[in-house]
């Protein structure tokens, strides 16, 4: 129970800083000409590795935080993030989520879906964002960044697991392989 709470806390802190950095770090905008949005990659990672409760909580928290720092109608980013997180969560047993390239593709597709969903919802709720063909190029570039960040999030998750949890107990494995007596003829 404690582990679950601390894991949730850690994820919330991660989501908090991700949304904060997107709004308060100015240099990516100056360097690339636009502000990358990595929250779809984060939700893909959560959908791949965590349970349903984590996906829902992260989509809600990240979406609300993003909208609170934007002119978007409040709550509009929750559904697209929730959707991609849930789709990945539902099909993760059927796709090769451990493969590096599969993770990249998932990140790219999720980013594009979130982008489209957000635009559709904005138009539905009569907000008038600035839209143009140049935006398509940026969304593709952003999708590429999201694709790269999914494996990065997964690797960091594995590293955190190694650093902060006990090694898993496997009764059939010797602690030291050198001390194992190998029987049989050479």
């Amino acid at each position: 129970m404690t582990f679950r709470i601390s894991k949730m806390l850690l994820l919330l802190i991660g989501a908090y800083f991700l949304t904060f950095i997107q709004s308060y770090w100015h240099w990516p905008r100056l360097l690339l000409g636009f502000q990358p949005d990595l929250t779809p990659a984060f939700l893909v990672f959560v959908g791949m590795t965590m349970g349903a409760g984590y996906v829902s909580s992260m989509a809600l928290a990240t979406g609300l935080w993003l909208d609170s720092l934007s002119a978007n109608p409040f709550g509009i980013s929750v559904f697209p993030l929730f959707f991609v997180g849930w789709v990945v969560f539902c099909v993760r047993e059927k796709i090769m989520t451990r493969e590096f390239m599969a993770q990249i593709y998932l990140g790219i597709i999720a980013s594009l879906i979130v982008f489209l969903f957000q635009l559709i919802l904005l138009r539905m709720f009569s907000a008038n964002p600035m839209i143009g063909w140049e935006m398509v190029f940026w969304s593709l570039l952003n999708a590429f960044f999201c694709g790269l960040f999914v494996p990065l999030f997964t690797l960091s998750h594995k590293a955190f697991g190694r650093w902060f949890s006990h090694p898993s107990y496997e009764p059939n494995k010797w602690l030291d392989n050198n001390r194992q007596i190998v029987r049989g003829k050479d």
């Binding site: 908090y16 800083f17 949304t19 904060f20 997107q22 709004s23 308060y24 100015h26 905008r29 100056l30 000409g33 636009f34 502000q35 949005d37 809600l60 609300l64 935080w65 993003l66 909208d67 609170s68 720092l69 934007s70 002119a71 978007n72 109608p73 409040f74 709550g75 509009i76 929750v78 559904f79 957000q118 904005l122 709720f125 008038n128 964002p129 600035m130 839209i131 143009g132 063909w133 140049e134 935006m135 940026w138």
Partner: protein
């Protein structure tokens, strides 16, 4: 479900909720600014004595560069001070501490709020005195402002030489160049030339009269032929905005 609940609650309650959740980032803003200051102090001190010699050798050229930089800054601040003396309005200097997370809006967050006397709809000008935008949402310690070119920042402007009035709107098609806006609803029987200066008209009371906005780059007749439209390059560089002046009394 959460989305539906959030979108059907009344606008005022939703705005308050948004502001409250946005307030959760205040500690992070504080830590970030303290961290920046500490890093600035640490980077000025060397911990490696071997590097000191190399640094000493480079110091002369560094000092020369710094001198040039300080001269430029001095000129900029003198110009700003002169501008402050020339205009009849009371202003407050604010720092840009954040920007909208989404690229389809042009909004910035400022480090002054209602406790500093900031109110909604107060105009924003750059250090040099060019129009930048207006305040839209005010919190206790911070506030949000829309910049020129945002779909929610429309106002009346005029061409300085001919005194013909029109309206500044965001570009019809998204443009990554932060300095492009459109001047529309100009009479179709006038001549608009590239280089013509555009200033605020003072109509509607949103902005005081004669604040410089930008200059015309191109003009064309609208599709129905009823009015002229012009592409205006604004004077202020909105992408590199670090400090702004808020007109508190005008």
């Amino acid at each position: 479900m959460a989305l539906i609940v959030l979108l059907i609650i009344p606008g005022i309650a939703r705005a308050k909720l948004k502001s409250t959740i946005g307030g959760m980032f205040l500690p992070a803003i504080g830590v970030s600014s303290v961290g920046n200051n500490v890093l600035g102090v640490l980077s000025s001190k060397s911990l490696n004595p071997v590097q000191d010699e190399i640094i000493d050798q480079a110091l002369d050229s560094d000092l020369k560069l710094e001198n040039i930089h300080l001269r430029a800054e001095n000129l900029r601040l003198r110009a700003a001070a002169d501008w402050g003396l020339r205009v009849p309005w009371k202003t407050k200097l604010a720092q840009v501490i954040g920007r909208d997370s989404f690229n389809w809006w042009r909004r910035v967050k400022l480090n002054l709020g209602s406790q500093h006397g900031i109110r909604s709809n107060q105009p924003l000008v750059s250090i040099e005195g060019y129009l930048v935008g207006r305040i839209t949402e005010v919190g206790l310690k911070t506030s949000w402002a829309v910049l020129l070119g945002d779909p929610n920042c429309r106002f009346s402007a005029l061409i300085k030489s001919s005194r013909q009035q029109g309206g500044i709107v965001s570009p019809r098609r998204f443009n990554s160049n932060y300095r492009i806006v459109e001047l529309t609803y100009l009479p179709n029987d006038i001549e608009v030339r590239p280089g013509n200066l555009v200033v605020t008209s003072g109509l509607g009371g949103a902005f005081p009269k004669e604040i410089p906005v930008g200059q015309v780059e191109d003009s064309w007749l609208s599709r129905d032929g009823l009015y002229l439209e012009a592409k205006v390059k604004i004077h202020a560089d909105l992408n590199r905005l670090e400090e702004v002046r808020i007109l508190t009394e005008y």
